[in-house]
């Protein structure tokens, strides 16, 4: 074997192992994150964390009950706003669209998907907070909903397209109108996929902090109704992590663990369900 061949072979081995190393490094980050969160936050995820309000500044103890409920309320509004718009818009793109309008809608949706979340926050601030002059749960939920729309829209379209043509034809052959076909045959056939996509979108916005900073703001107490500022888990993590108290840092770790746990479990369950036969064959 010539020297040159030897050189080429060793370059081959070295570079190929390097790519493997890159993959290993990238994946191991996930385990580092999980490991650190469990190590630092595990002890503080206790009953108090879920049931108590934050203690006054500087006092030890307390929990994040209000932030957990606040996050739930924000996500509820986001889902109520984002899912119907995304879903029905997706139905239009997949079932009724011509050429020009769907192109514009898709392009806009993709670009909206790439808009930094903090800019969405400014938008919600200008649209919802400024007219009424105070921060509110509603404004935060609106911001998160705006972020959900493009995701739900595009995945609804994908899943509707994946429904076999024969199903549609079967329904049409029985004399069903187009709308009847869509609502009672196509949508149910794609429902698992669409539901999964909506859940993934929720999981994504559940961790968003930036758009909440000046819409939902924060609150150290319960936030009754929908027009008061409210605490939320991600914002609490931010506030507590950059704050000066050790007790806050411990609680930030605990909240981080809870938040990441929720996000990852949702992702894993949804993706498992999706890959287990819910991905319909293309016609």
């Amino acid at each position: 074997m010539s020297l040159r061949m030897l050189w080429r072979k060793s370059v081959n081995i070295i570079m190929l192992s390097l790519t493997g190393l890159c993959a290993l490094v990238a994946v191991s980050v996930l385990f580092f994150i999980l490991g650190y969160l469990v190590y630092h936050g595990g002890r503080d995820v206790n009953w108090d964390f879920f049931t108590k309000l934050p203690k006054p500044v500087g006092e030890a103890g307390g929990g994040m009950a209000n932030a957990i409920v606040g996050s739930g309320k924000l996500l509820l509004i986001a889902a109520l706003f984002g899912v119907p718009v995304g879903l029905l818009g997706g139905v239009y793109l997949a079932e009724f669209g011509g050429r020009a309008v769907p192109f514009v809608v898709r392009y806009t949706a993709d670009l909206m998907n790439g808009v930094p979340s903090i800019v969405i926050g400014i938008f919600a601030y200008a649209l919802v907070v400024m007219p009424v002059h105070h921060f509110s749960t509603l404004a935060g939920g609106f911001a998160l909903g705006v972020m959900m729309i493009p995701i739900v829209l595009r995945s609804t379209e994908e899943f509707l397209h994946a429904v076999p043509r024969s199903l549609r034809e079967g329904a049409m052959a029985l004399g069903a109108s187009k709308w009847r076909t869509i609502s009672s045959v196509v949508l149910p056939a794609a429902s698992r996929g669409i539901l999964s996509a909506a859940l993934l979108a929720l999981a994504r916005v559940a961790g968003e902090t930036a758009p909440l900073l000046f819409t939902a703001f924060g609150n150290r107490f319960w936030s009754p109704g929908w027009s008061q500022p409210t605490a939320s888990l991600p914002v609490m993590i931010f506030t507590y992590a950059v704050g000066p108290y050790d007790d806050w840092h411990r609680q930030a770790w605990a909240a981080g663990l809870v938040l990441l746990g929720l996000v990852l479990v949702t992702n894993i369950v949804v993706r498992a369900v999706l890959s287990r036969g819910a991905s319909p064959q293309r016609s």
Binding site: C22, A26, F96, Y107, I118, W179, T209, F214, A241, I268
Partner: protein, 328 residues
């Protein structure tokens, strides 16, 4: 169905008693209109977003004009607002992030697309997708409590010993600063580069690879000389996409960049980014000019990511043939 007339009217469609009867007779037409209205909501939101950013930044735009971009003073008390330090911090941290993330992400993507057995590749990709789902505030949390102390006590002193003669690695090791922010950004954008690049590499026709192998190329040579160049435009697209993410990334950067509006050649020095200043000052901005200057920063950020995303999608469209806006 009861809402059909009002929504159709709101959409500005032709409307009259006769048209009403005609449309009502076929439910399809009503369904089409309703769904069309919802699809157009997306466009409406985008238009409103641009409109709000534009009008709310009017005061600052008129007051400072283009000098907004090369003025370094950010003094809310004196009413002087210049964006240069923030633009600098945003660009430097994003560039650092890309510098680290591109080789790492591309390497991992090559491994996943070309080398790993399908099962392993799918499982690893699943983990990478999970990584992409980790909220940015979590990265910030780990950045503040794990990476910053590590940078202060280990990495920055070591860099100073080895590369301290360059202006880039001088000054006190605070732990926080541009370098740390760049590092966190790198970790955050790697999953995006990997998953898009992997898709693009998988879309390269097998002939390309086999032809190179048949000519006697080693596995690596076939990959690097035949497959990667073929996917070049798509990989560029993934990098643009990642860059757009990095530019707009807020929480993690805010937590580790140091939040100090200075321009210093050293990467150790604390800096400030556009997104970070928005996160820190927006809710406490007093006075219209201050708010308007912040909104203008948001507008700049929006336009930057808008252009980058548009270009990225075009590039990915060119290689995979199934870009985002065009359905096949």
């Amino acid at each position: 169905m009861a809402t059909a007339p009002s929504t159709a009217a709101a959409a500005g469609l032709p409307w009259g008693p006769r048209a009403l009867v005609r449309r009502a007779r076929s439910g399809d037409e009503i369904a089409r209109l309703i769904t069309l209205v919802f699809a157009l909501v997306v466009v409406l939101i985008a238009v409103l977003l641009v409109y709000q950013l534009w009008t709310n930044s009017a005061q600052a735009r008129h007051r400072f004009g283009l000098s907004f971009f090369w003025n370094t003073t950010w003094d809310p008390v004196a009413g002087q607002f210049g964006a240069l330090t923030f633009v600098y911090g945003t660009l430097v941290t994003s560039a650092l992030g890309l510098l680290i993330a591109v080789p790492l992400g591309l390497g991992a993507a090559i491994f996943l697309a070309e080398l790993a057995p399908r099962r392993l590749s799918d499982n690893l990709t699943f983990l990478i997708d999970l990584l992409a789902a980790v909220p940015s505030v979590i990265y910030g949390l780990l950045g503040v409590f794990i990476l910053v102390p590590l940078m202060r006590t280990e990495i920055q002193p070591a860099l100073k010993r080895i590369l301290g003669f360059t202006p880039l690695f001088q000054g006190p090791a605070y732990g926080i600063g541009l370098l740390t922010a760049g590092l966190v950004l790198a970790v955050m954008i790697v999953p995006f580069i990997i998953s898009v690049s992997r898709e693009v590499l998988l879309a390269v026709p097998g002939d390309q690879r086999e032809a190179a192998l048949a000519l006697g190329a080693t596995r690596w040579e076939a990959t690097w000389r035949a497959v990667v160049p073929y996917a070049r435009t798509g990989i560029m697209g993934s990098i643009f996409l990642a860059l757009a993410r990095a530019l707009g990334e807020t929480m993690a950067v805010t937590m580790v960049i140091g939040n100090n509006p200075t321009i210093s050649p050293s990467l150790f020095s604390p800096g400030y980014s556009i997104a970070a200043v928005l996160a820190n000052e927006f809710s406490e901005a007093t006075g219209n000019l201050y708010l308007s200057a912040l909104v203008e920063l948001g507008l700049v950020l929006f336009l930057l990511t808008f252009v980058l995303n548009g270009m990225a999608r075009l590039l990915i469209l060119l290689t995979t043939g199934r870009g985002t806006a065009e359905r096949t």
